[in-house]
Amino acid sequence: MAKKLPKTDIVLAGVGWTGGIIAAELTRKGYKVVGLERGKERKTEDYLMVHDELRYQQRNEMMQDLSKETLTVRHDRTKRALPYRQHGSFLIGDGVGGSGEHWNGLTYRFFPYDFEIYTKTVERYGKDKIPADMPLQDWGITYDELVPYFEKFETMAGISGEANPHPEVPEVKYPTVPLKETPSMKMFREASKNLGYHPYIAPAATLSESYTNPDGISRGACQYCGFCERFGCEYGAKASPVVTVLPVAKETGNFEVRTHCVVRKVLHTNGKATGVLYVDTRTGEEYIQEADVVVVSAYVLNNIRILLNSKLGRPYNPETGTGVIGKNYAYQMTSAASTGFFKDKEFNLYAGTGALAGVLDDFNGDNFDHTDLNFIHGGNIALGHYGKRPISNNSVPKGTPGWGKEFKDESIFWANRSLSVGSQGSVMPNKENYIDLDPTYKDQFGDPLIRMTFNYKDNERNQQKYIREITTKILEEMGADMITTPGDQGDWDTTKYQTTHNTGGVIMGADPETSALNNYLQMWDCENVFVPGANAFPHNSGMNPTGTVGALAYRAAEGIEKYLKNGGSLV
């Protein structure tokens, strides 16, 4: 029998960016918050031995132990789903801070177009532009309404950046100056400008200079050590929950974090949650934590799983297109990347930081005319200077064998002489891309795993083909001696790392029939459950999602306070 614990105001299932933001905002208003975190406690001192590519990158030190819980994957409904046995295409973080510890720190705002994508697409191109199997939806909130929340996140994290010069993109003033520009980024800037594009230095959560945020938290500048994404920051220069919002919450005395605690279910009766059922994996004991408000604040995929296993909300049915939990799962694409080889140049590519990049949005969102194109949306185009570590970076020109003498000598020669211009391709929702419960495979407690049914559709493949030509053109203009591209986007490869920008599954919107959450991230079907995170995105844009996730978390925090004061559905 699970042991019942005294009721609290708010319980969090997961203590990463969204849980941390909500904890900071609500504890400072005097509410009691209990955070349940499946992983361990984290602090900056943990990263004393962090410059270890094998441990952190190859062996996924900071990621979820998949022996206890994973998901299953397949390309379409006719196939048997197989377990995602090893980390590959994406990385599910765990531990206090969650993915906010091992992220790169690229912090964008989704475009005004994104939040009203259905309306704006129909306005400009007509209804026929949207394929029948693409459940494209507005988000139930506009960019203008979200601006104050974006500002909150950027000010808290101290985002370093310059204004995006593209005329279609709203101007943003960042609290700290942009990161340093490397010679290769300058080449990218010049070449892109020559081609008529609008390059700029990407907005970064890896601080360009010392910064004290409105909570009084000071952090030092990034040292460009070259170990950032998949790693924790030993300087605290990269904004993470552990060095920003969590200390604020703890300082109030109203916040308690329980680590090594896995939430199995949200408990609910008559359309209202009573609390959560969780297991302390150190003692093996089960507990019920009752609360006035339950916030499901784990990683996207775990949020979907908790709701499905709790039988909360209506599961999505791909046959009929009805139901909402598991609907509009989306991802991103990276196959538009081109690599240029420069035989007479040598760059300091071992240096860098996770958010150091030159970027442009000329082929992103609806910033270009899609009238004669066979897709909607697009992707950003960037030259990153993230730090090239030697195990995982072995670029060789096309035609080079994959091993042996030639591979060795070529991979060493080009190690500091090759540059990639990549793109984060947006992925639109498709009726057949969704999440449900797997009928066969179980986790450590015997609960069903989730099953991901996903593949790239025509819209996405056409988009990457188009953008690949641009990335190649930029490298030509930069003076590359040779250029290689990965070729057309094939079926989704679950083994090769692409991006940890999984989105959707518990989406927000204006209509309870077609969305799970209202624009406060409050469940339509259960008013004291909030589900902040990228799970709320009805589609995925062509840029990193964390800036938008952070803004939505501040929005949810405001909603939770309103709910605790007045009750009821907020919309």
Binding site: R59, R85, T155, P214, G352, K405, K408
Partner: protein, 258 residues
């Protein structure tokens, strides 16, 4: 930040600062190198020299790490020879053998990696149904896959050249590995020769370039070839430079126990 927040700061800035220094080691008040490494880093520059000389004296001493945790002698010889073909000695620098990659692989197989301890290894398994896009779908762990792969490398060598793999000449070894890569050899278990080959190849590259603490990348020679500086505190003064900056690499050992 909203007007309301400005009026009601919950945290007193001065007291919270002190707490942060004490409890979390965060950088405060514009100190740049205040993080976990900063406390060690900031001491003085003579540290670097001490470390250098330490590394050099170790290099000439006995390497107690050169012993086997998992392989038997035949298995070790087979993997040492195969890894050398994947990453051979050339004019550019040493190959897998000199870099002690086979010891790295041996030690990794003895660790939780060899047992797939942090991976989902619950059945049912459908190895023949899975395309390469779905990765590891066999019930076998990496120790078992290496056992089968090594057995098959030697069986192929015996069948075609009447000798063990390690005793063959370069061309014959390459021919066998090429057949493995192309899935042309049948392993006596639920795994393909191509899967084993890819595992061996990635482990070889890891052994060349992982921090020497894991037993390969001898004396950081792998890093030196590639001009990778390893564990360095800061590139803030290098990041904008036009010219390529070469530096002596440092390993994590330089961070620890000095």
């Amino acid at each position: 930040m909203s007007e309301q927040d400005k009026k009601t700061p919950i945290l007193d800035k001065r007291s919270s600062r002190r707490t942060f220094i004490k409890n979390s080691g965060l950088t405060v008040g514009g100190v740049v190198l205040g993080g976990a490494l900063g406390s060690l880093l900031g001491k003085d520059s003579t540290k670097t020299k001490t470390i250098e000389s330490h590394v050099h004296s170790e290099a000439t001493a006995v390497n107690f790490n050169q012993a086997l945790m998992y392989f038997d002698k035949t298995q070790f010889d087979t993997i040492e020879a195969a890894a050398e073909q994947i990453f051979p000695k050339t004019d550019v620098g040493p190959g897998a053998k000199e870099l002690l990659v086979a010891y790295f692989i041996d030690h990794q197989l003895a660790s939780n990696w060899g047992l797939n301890a942090k991976e989902y290894m619950t059945g049912p398994f459908f190895p023949t149904e899975a395309t390469a896009l779905f990765g590891h779908q066999t019930h076998l762990n990496r120790q078992q896959i290496f056992n089968l792969g090594i057995e098959a490398l030697n069986a192929e060598a015996q069948k075609n050249y009447d000798n063990n793999f390690a005793a063959l000449n370069e061309d014959d070894q390459i021919a066998i590995l090429t057949a493995f890569e192309a899935d042309e050899v049948t392993l006596n278990g639920a795994v393909t020769s191509g899967f084993f080959f890819r595992l061996l190849k990635s482990a070889t590259i890891e052994g060349v370039y992982a921090d020497p603490l894991y037993g390969g990348n001898k004396n950081m020679e792998g890093w030196k070839m590639k001009n990778f500086p390893g564990h360095q505190m800061s590139y803030a003064n290098i990041i904008e430079k036009d010219e390529f900056v070469k530096m002596d690499p440092m390993s994590l050992n330089s961070q620890h126990n000095h």
